[in-house]
């Protein structure tokens, strides 16, 4: 390491240490200055730093020297800068006069696992309350919107439908096809061992149409549209655009939330139907390529296995999934606090809460449908 441009020499006993600084002293060599000055003053109760030969001092170096002086003062000693001239004296005076208060970072609050669990439970309960209150507002808003449709901002519905629907179609098709194919392959291997090749269509068709099609499609819509809604509304919240809307007499629910939820309610069932179709095709691809099953045989088995009720239950799920995605994503976005960091947290929270809600809703549906014998 090159030697610093400044020089330091010290002499005298601990109760009156004399330190001589010389040359240009800048923040660029701050680490070395900090080390040398503290070493020279180690054990001293009182000291005098002669600055007569300092040719240049910048603000950072002045801050470091005054910090050392503060440190000595706190430990009951004293340090004085003497013979400083011109700019050096002015800078030292500037930083010295501002010298008050503490340099220490606050101690991080100690937490226990139990306290963390409690915090998490409290946050989860508050989030649930907020989402339920938001749902109530949305229901009231929907009733008012049906009675007075002109109060709803339908202007951007077309764009929202395109973004959530048409733009998301390729990825929904690809993922559902792959899910159908993976399920088909795993099923084909097992069914083939027991001579049950003809049941592959039942396995893939029912799994995809009743469960995986709606769920996978909803998860993809959450990742694309749900996250986008939370980030968009979150950014609008921190930029005070939502407050501006309110001052203009616009209800953010009807202006922003209702069109987004409506777009998802219209689009997600359509995407789910497409997902069901291509998911079944994924199973067909495996039946033909792995089991050498004729296409007609697979399609006939599928027709016999899947009823309109199966498709209907899948679509019913998809509608409620759409409401959950739109509702939670918009609520999380509008609940954003802080700046860019808050938007990030709101988006993450929206995706996590929606995914949890989707799986929980799916479990409830499966249980209810089994009770109803559907």
């Amino acid at each position: 390491m090159p030697s610093p441009a400044f020089t330091l020499s010290s002499s005298g006993p601990g109760d009156c240490r004399r330190v001589q600084l010389a040359g240009p002293i800048t923040l660029a060599e701050g680490a070395e200055l900090w080390r040398q000055v503290r070493t020279a003053l180690a054990g001293a109760t009182s000291a005098e730093v002669n600055m007569a030969q300092v040719t240049r001092l910048d603000g950072g170096a002045a801050a470091l020297l005054t910090a050392v002086a503060t440190e000595m003062m706190r430990s009951g000693g004293g340090l004085q800068f003497v013979d400083a001239r011109g700019d050096v004296a002015r800078l030292l005076a500037l930083y010295d006069s501002a010298r008050t208060g503490s340099c220490e970072l606050p101690e991080p609050k100690a937490t226990t696992v139990l306290a963390d669990v409690g915090d998490f439970a409290e946050r989860a309960w508050r989030t649930t309350q907020a989402i339920l209150a938001f749902l109530g507002d949305l229901v009231v808003g929907t009733i008012q919107a049906v009675r007075r449709p002109r109060t709803v901002h339908f202007g951007e519905l077309g764009v929202l439908l395109e973004r959530a629907g048409a733009d998301g179609l390729p990825i929904v098709m690809l993922i559902n096809f792959l899910v159908g194919a993976i399920l088909g392959l795993q099923g084909a291997i097992q069914l083939h061992r027991f001579g049950g090749d003809q049941f592959l269509a039942n396995l893939v068709g029912l799994s995809v149409i009743r469960e995986l099609g709606p769920l996978m499609t909803a998860i993809l819509v959450t990742g694309r549209s749900g996250a986008a809604y939370a980030a968009e509304l979150g950014t609008m919240t921190v930029n005070e655009e939502i407050d501006a809307l309110r001052t203009l007499g616009q209800d953010p629910q009807r202006f922003l939330v209702f069109p987004r939820v409506l777009a998802l309610v219209l689009v997600v069932p359509v995407l789910t139907l497409v997902g069901d179709f291509v998911g079944s095709l994924g199973g067909l691809a495996i039946a033909v390529s792995y089991l050498d099953q004729p296409v007609v045989v697979y399609l006939q088995s599928l027709q016999q296995a899947v009823s309109l009720l199966d498709i209907g239950t899948g679509l019913l799920k998809s509608v409620l999934f759409a409401v959950a995605i739109g509702l939670i994503a918009c609520q999380r976005g509008l609940a954003t606090r802080g700046g860019a960091d808050g938007v990030g947290r709101a988006t993450t929270s929206a995706v996590v809460v929606v995914l949890f809600a989707l799986v929980a809703l799916d479990a409830v549906f499966t249980w209810v449908f089994s009770l109803l014998g559907w």
């Binding site: 910048d58 950072g60 801050a63 002015r90 500037l94 340099c103 700046g339």
Partner: protein, 247 residues
Amino acid sequence: MAKVLEVRDLAVGYGGEPLLEEISFDVLRGEVFAILGGSGCGKSTLLRTLIGLQEPIAGRVHFRGIGPPAKAMTPPQFGVLFQSSALFGSRTLLQNVLLPLQKWTRLPAAAALAVAMARLRLVGLDRFAHHLPSAVSGGMRKRAGIARALALDPPVLFFDEPSAGLDPVTAAELDELILTLARDLGVTIVLVTHELPSILQVADQCIMLDGAAVGIIARGAPRELSERSTDPRVQAFFRRQVLPRNL
């Protein structure tokens, strides 16, 4: 006094379309230099070009005695206070000021902390060091932005509309701080603003830009311009008058 910044025949704008052309001026060491003009005349675009965030369409910006602007491998040679303060919202004021020190110096943690706290004390914010930017006022955010811009002792500071959105008292305090920085720290300050009281109080020299003229329409000491200029656009600016439509 030595030149710190030399701008020659600069053209700035977007997509090859110049907002301003043939911009030439010098800034001297220790000077407070103001770039004036009405809203939308290209002041902030000129500032972005000066600090290297935007390529000029033509001309050159030369910093004398200090390194080139916005090069990633060397410590920044100037500090910038953005119009919105641009503090990182997830970090406290202290952490915002510490950021350049941790990146560009090899100071031990305690020393870096001491420097950062000293900067905050200088701008009167040491008591709020552990607050997030969202928890302090607009004026405090501006001052914290100045502390962060000052962190590495740059010889030049660029301020974009420092008093914008502040009440008169806070704006006056900020002007006082700017003068302290120039007078006591010897920092050269380039200021983009359209706040008349600030211009008259702090600026030594200025240029006035005009969007319709696509360039500089006046230059000199602000007080002199305000009292002696015969250009109706300059008079309208300093007297806060509506400019006749044919000008």
